[in-house]
Symmetry: C2
DNA sequence: ATACATGCAAATCATTTGCGCAGTC
DNA sequence: GACTGCGCAAATGATTTGCATGTAT
């Protein structure tokens, strides 16, 4: 009876697998190219559809850094991101989330706060070396 | 000699004026509709072009909350934003920015941190009342 | 057998751009 | 007059969707 209206598919499994194997926070296009190596007939539309399914199931997170293209992440432990302003790379920050931020702000405003999103911007180690 | 290659234009002035008069963090489309009331022939392309000019001049800030549409803000004092997950409204938070965040993270990572972006998500006062 | 999922192509939405004309310096 | 900005319409790029067919349960 575990019918939640979702059937497994080779495509979705490959998409998730590819995402699990990288730390690059890739775009749908990037995932498409990788999965395509194994399933040459897959279409970009299928990649998008499945990324949404996975996101709805909570297996994948959608990221948006205002670049005009969304990125995806299969590593769900709460963590912040660092975006290099030179090369665009996105890195996970291995730092515990600031536990008290929501409460500190909550005390000051009438809005009911559920979550926060914190991104850092700067120059990555690579780009520092190259300058 | 103050020729930086930019000439004034009625359109740009009206766009900035409209943005200065609202706290709604509007989209280009919204600004377009407002300015249009005074300059009926203005085109959406002109709005986008001028928003970019103003942003480059540092008179306007471009905001992106991952909604698929950018928003614009003429209030430049550093502040955080609150996005209502029900109605989509964006509010400025009248709270001093967390001064130590960059340094706290900087000590823990090799990346060179210039800035951070912190947004809050939840339910606004209006939507709380309506539920 | 009955959904749900896919591939393909066309559609959508926000934003950008080329071009000939108009406005500013 | 030289150069920047405009309006318009067409182009772009990311993402979504309709539809006929394929696949999982």
């Amino acid at each position: 009876m575990s019918s939640n209206g979702i059937k497994r598919s080779r495509q979705r499994e490959r998409i998730y697998h590819v995402l699990r194997r990288t730390r690059e926070h890739p775009t749908a296009e990037w995932i498409f190219e990788r999965v395509r190596e194994e399933l040459p007939k897959i279409s970009l539309g299928t990649v998008y559809r499945n990324l949404h399914v996975l996101a709805k199931q909570g297996m994948v997170r959608e990221l948006d850094f205002g670049e005009g293209t969304k990125r995806y992440d299969a590593f769900l432990s709460p963590h912040y991101h660092f975006v290099c302003e030179q090369c665009g790379t996105v890195k996970d920050l291995e730092v515990a989330p600031l536990a008290d931020v929501n409460e500190r702000i909550q005390q000051l405003v009438p809005e009911l706060i559920h979550a926060h999103k914190l991104d850092f911007y700067g120059t990555c180690a690579n780009c520092q070396a190259a300058s």
